[in-house]
């Protein structure tokens, strides 16, 4: 079996353009973004699109897990309608993006003729959400190709979310969510500490820290550099939460040399050059619509 990198080499020999390696921000925009943003991304990112397991994990953590939580939350009798469960979740989730996601699911249902505010439609809406969860998960694993590099050996995706018969679906989702959220087991199986200790990337890490902490860098980059410095100083204390703060660095490490990182995240303008990776930062929806 050919490794993805070998295949990539074959392809680079045929085409001069580097292959596209997508960051989580691009993945989210391609799935849930504004139509203009989607159009612009599709036009400017050459297919096929590659991702790493870490990127898939970030997408699941930021989208699918919240949908699973909403699915089970909406079963509670204290929420008379599906819309009530969404309102409750919107008030509980602090993340702005998640609020957008919940808004999207409501508008998707309304667009398709369902009324999430009607208590009589609650079960239909829940079933619709369940179908949506499986569709998004399936799409994620089939639409993008995996680069096959996972230096940190993230173990959160050791269980796949696959379509099942109705009676098995709830248990399957719970099992998937439980395996994903079990940080202790996940951390015991991954090797992020070894990656942080690796001599191979020592200079690159230092470069990110120096550039990120330098005056004039953006607050996001500063935050990333500070988190990376902390991790380098005590790699053995790395937890899944702490690892999530240096996600951009791990994404850059997993990008093969003949690939170009496509992102909407400006911190990559600092991270990618430190790891000698090519990067293309795409404009945000706001910037795009102003053009």
């Amino acid at each position: 079996m050919k490794s993805p990198q070998t295949k990539a080499k074959t392809k680079t020999a045929k085409t001069s353009a580097p292959l596209s390696y997508l960051d989580t921000s691009v993945l989210r925009q391609l799935r849930f973004g504004h139509p203009e943003q989607k159009k612009a991304l599709i036009a400017s990112i050459p297919a096929p699109h590659y991702v790493s397991t870490y990127v898939l994990m970030e997408f699941i953590r930021g989208v699918i897990l919240y949908y699973i939580e909403l699915y089970f939350e909406s079963a509670e009798t204290r929420h008379p309608s599906f819309a009530d469960a969404c309102t409750f979740s919107t008030e509980t989730f602090s993340n702005r993006d998640l609020k957008t996601l919940l808004g999207l699911i409501i508008s998707l249902m309304q667009e398709q003729g369902f009324d999430p505010a009607n208590p009589a439609n609650k079960e239909t809406c829940r079933r619709k959400l369940q179908d949506h969860i499986f569709s998004v998960a399936e799409e994620l694993f089939s639409l993008y190709r995996n680069v096959g590099i996972a230096e940190e050996a993230c173990s959160k995706l050791r269980k796949h979310l696959a379509r099942k018969e109705l009676e098995e679906r709830d248990d399957h989702m719970l099992e998937f969510s439980e395996a994903f959220k079990n940080d202790k087991t996940c951390r015991s199986l991954c090797s992020v500490d070894a990656l942080l200790k690796a001599n191979e990337y020592r200079n690159s890490y230092q470069c990110v820290i120096d550039k990120g902490l330098a005056a004039g860098s953006t607050p996001t980059t500063k935050k990333l550099a500070a988190a990376l410095k902390e991790r380098i100083d005590s790699p053995d204390d790395t937890t899944c939460t702490r690892c999530s703060k240096i996600g951009d660095v791990i994404i850059a490490v997993n990008c093969p040399h003949n690939f170009q990182i496509h992102t909407l995240d400006t911190s990559f303008s600092t991270v990618a050059p430190c790891f000698s990776r090519e990067v293309q930062i795409h404009p945000s929806t706001k910037a795009l619509l102003k053009m």
Binding site: M1, K2, K7, T10, K11, K14, T15, K38, I42, P46, A47, P48, L108, E111, Q112, G113, F114, E123, T124, R127, K128, D131, H132, F134, S135, E138, E139, S142, L143, R145, N146, H160, A162, R163, K164, E165, L166, E167
Partner: protein, 224 residues
């Protein structure tokens, strides 16, 4: 004379629902009336245990059996076997959806297209509601959900050719004796591929080398 503690131990609260034309006076014997408390139509009877009665016996006041007035319930209407048998119900929905898709295809570029699309959308919704409420049609409901999502994202871009292909995916489901999760995955892949070809200007851009990409697909499956 019983002490208050003994009285508490020896009494039992039994709810008694008075029937029509019954009152505390004509139901309870005079020696028990002083214990009876009427709350709406419920009478709580507190009866003192006779000293002659052994502790081993259960202690109940004498109550007349509750008479529930007979009420005629609506007899369910006979349903057609075509609607209750899953393959028939599925076929019926699929035929309706195929007719709607065909209607959209025929009206493309004409003033009636919006009405045809609205009808298709309404029937997809109705079909999903019917299928999702039945456990044996859950997989079929997932298939309708995929169609809904596909139409939601792409319907404005769909050509007559695309609509024909969509109709063909419905035929696949009509022929099956039962729809399994694997069938849904297959339909999802077909729709995704169609959606991708609508999003991307050319499918050549997706696969740099056809032979290689098919090998890769196998490799990926192997890895999974």
């Amino acid at each position: 004379m019983a002490t208050p503690a003994a009285f508490e131990r020896q009494t039992k609260v039994v709810p008694y629902v008075l029937q029509k034309s019954q009152t505390v006076d004509n139901v309870l014997p005079p020696q028990r009336r002083w214990h009876a408390v009427e709350i709406f139509q419920t009478v709580i009877v507190q009866e003192e245990k006779p000293e002659t009665l052994s502790d081993f016996f259960d202690f109940h006041p004498v109550v007349s059996p509750t008479i529930v007035p007979a009420k005629l319930k609506k007899i369910p209407r006979p349903s057609l076997i075509a609607r209750s048998f899953e393959p028939h119900a599925r076929k019926e929905i699929l035929e309706l959806l195929a007719a709607r898709i065909s209607e959209v295809r025929q009206t493309l570029g004409q003033p009636g297209v919006a009405t045809a699309v609205a009808r298709l959308r309404a029937d997809l919704k109705k079909g999903y509601e019917v299928a999702s409420l039945r456990d044996d049609m859950a997989n079929f409901a997932s298939a309708i959900s995929l169609l809904q999502d596909y139409c939601y994202m792409h319907w404005s871009k769909m050509s007559a050719d695309q609509l024909t292909r969509l109709e063909n995916t419905l035929i696949l489901m009509r022929k099956k004796s039962e729809v399994s999760p694997k069938d849904i995955t297959r339909i999802a892949a077909v729709l995704r591929e169609q959606g991708r070809s609508l999003d991307y200007p050319s499918t050549v851009q997706l696969y740099l080398d056809d032979e290689e990409s098919s090998d890769e697909g196998k490799d990926k499956d192997g890895e999974d």
